[in-house]
Symmetry: C2
Subunit: 342 residues, 2 copies
């Protein structure tokens, strides 16, 4: 099963056509997803293996993508650390982490006890997909999880986490160490349950200067990736907004670098070198355009890659909720058609 097109591209091996999937491919743009979602809250959907599996399967059936991804949320494993989580609809932690006492109170749970439904969903999906597509598991990078835990919710300037980083570096380090320990157990449990690749989302890593990233984020992501039992399980590392510091981000390790759409994919490959695959990087809003424009832009991204092995096609960020599904299908078909060898 290691000759899936997607897994071969992760290893920079030649493929018959460029593999493609979409971040947030299980989501609100699909009426089929909305139907399931109308019966249950977002958090309950994450926590109910049969339903989470159902929405994970939908985009594989509908779009014809080359990989499936577990339906869950990066904050799911944070709740059993002792932080009550709500979605209103954005994520909110009732009691943000602000002091050493708050950090000390956090638990590093056994994922089999804390989030058993995630492992159960993975097992259902592996049975459903066997011989068809590989399954990607995922988690948030320690820094991105820390951002939510310290801010308590989304933020514009991330003043709380940066204040902690600058004025209480010991509290920051204690928190990051605890999150990294949780994350390592969590992602290893996903691998043990059957995840065939792991994507690490560092949604907020790009809010920092390259210097702060190197000092305050990189060591923890590096430790996480080093701590994964990933022989044969490729690791995709996606740091949004990191286009001007890819050389630094590469030092974290991993097999595939996720690229947002703010960077020329060809230039990124030149910086990263031939030993690292890339994933990306179409602007998600291109999927609002007519089919001819979608095809032109798919071709542009493929041209930037210039046939180098080790390219997984994707959007540069999650698919937007108001995209017509037929446009996502047009993108997938264009990737396969334009990249077919011989």
């Amino acid at each position: 099963m290691s000759d899936y097109r997607f897994l071969k591209a992760c290893r920079c091996e030649p493929v018959d056509k460029t593999p493609v999937w979409l971040m947030r491919q299980a989501g609100r743009y699909l009426p089929e997803y909305m139907k399931v979602r109308s019966q249950v809250s977002f958090l309950d959907l994450c926590k109910t293996p049969e339903l989470a599996a159902e929405v994970s399967i939908q985009p594989v059936d509908i779009l014809g993508v080359d990989a499936a991804i577990l339906f869950s949320d990066i904050l799911t494993p944070v709740e059993p650390m002792g932080l009550k989580l709500d979605f209103v609809p954005g994520p909110v932690f009732e009691k943000p982490v602000r002091s050493m006492a708050d950090v000390d109170a956090l638990i590093v749970p056994d994922p089999e006890e804390g989030v058993p439904y995630v492992m159960e969903t993975i097992k259902i999906l592996r049975r459903a997909f066997e011989g068809r597509v590989p399954l990607i598991g995922f988690g948030g990078a320690p820094f991105t999880l820390a951002c939510y835990m310290v801010e308590g919710k989304g933020s514009k300037d991330f003043a709380w986490i940066k204040k902690m980083m600058y004025t209480a570096p010991d509290v920051y380090a204690a928190l990051m160490n605890k999150i990294t320990a949780m994350d390592t157990l969590y992602l290893n449990a996903q691998i043990k349950a059957g995840a065939q690749a792991i994507q690490i989302f560092d949604t907020w890593g790009g809010i920092l200067s390259p210097s702060d990233y190197a000092h305050h984020v990189l060591p923890y992501t590096q430790k996480l990736i080093n701590g994964l039992d990933h022989s044969g399980v490729p690791v995709i590392h996606f740091v949004k907004g990191a286009g001007a510091m890819l050389d630094t981000v590469k030092q974290a390790g991993g097999d595939v670098m996720g690229l947002d759409w703010h960077v020329n994919l060809g230039k990124a490959r030149d910086i990263l070198g031939a030993d690292m695959a890339v994933q990306g990087n179409l602007d998600p809003t291109v999927l609002f355009a007519p089919k001819a424009v979608i095809e032109r832009e798919v071709r542009r991204v493929l041209d930037e890659n210039a046939g180098r092995p080790g390219h997984i096609f994707n959007l540069g960020h999650g698919i937007l909720p108001t995209v017509p599904p037929e446009n996502a299908i047009a993108m997938v078909e264009a990737v396969h058609a334009f990249s077919t060898k011989g």
Copy 2:
């Protein structure tokens, strides 16, 4: 007066110490500003030359910066194009531009009639600052103004403007041409009134892929900069989020590249070459930190520049409203102290 430290740095000439100012230095973090603002709405403050001048002078007195900047808003000159503007507190246009009919209805006003208070403020400020600091005028880049005009307000994914760009390129081009014509007249009027440098803010240029930026933004900014009567008046071009496409942005012209904090300043200079000055790029949240951290980070940015002529110190984006003024003062003092020659 062309031997102001700030203007010399814009021309890449040697200086006695690195000049420094702060984007949004006239603003809410200053109690003196809040006192003026408590008497009048934000828009009325922009439209009342004596008060706009008063708040422009405050940071020069309080912080000891090397340049003043006109107090205004990038959207001020858009209102006389025929779009009613409100701040609630973010900017809102009642009737966003969505069709060719909407574009046709826009006026390209004579700035002396449309925004006479801006030119009047500049004249007051030149008298107030003569022999002390130079005065920077400014405007929004055509694309950033178009974003607000088409979205009607701030946006997360800028779906409307991108839909227009992809599905109605003729409407988009007509709009951009009209804005560029307005902007050229507006910034030339500022220069005529006495502005000694011009900063062009492209707050949203970085939301695009490098390819879309090159096709849909660059030609208009280039036309704007070429159309400015700027013999002796340097142009600073600041595109937020453009760290991975600085080589492309440079093609727009201008004398100084504004840098946000997501890029290593030294690497940016390597890309831009010795003929282009840079301005930036401390992370604005560093001003929440204790003085010792502020000093360390100022030194880091100066070290990245490594003594090359043509560096104007600034934040990588506007100063945040909750920064203690004494921290901004500490930053300015550190820049001057650490960069003093011999």
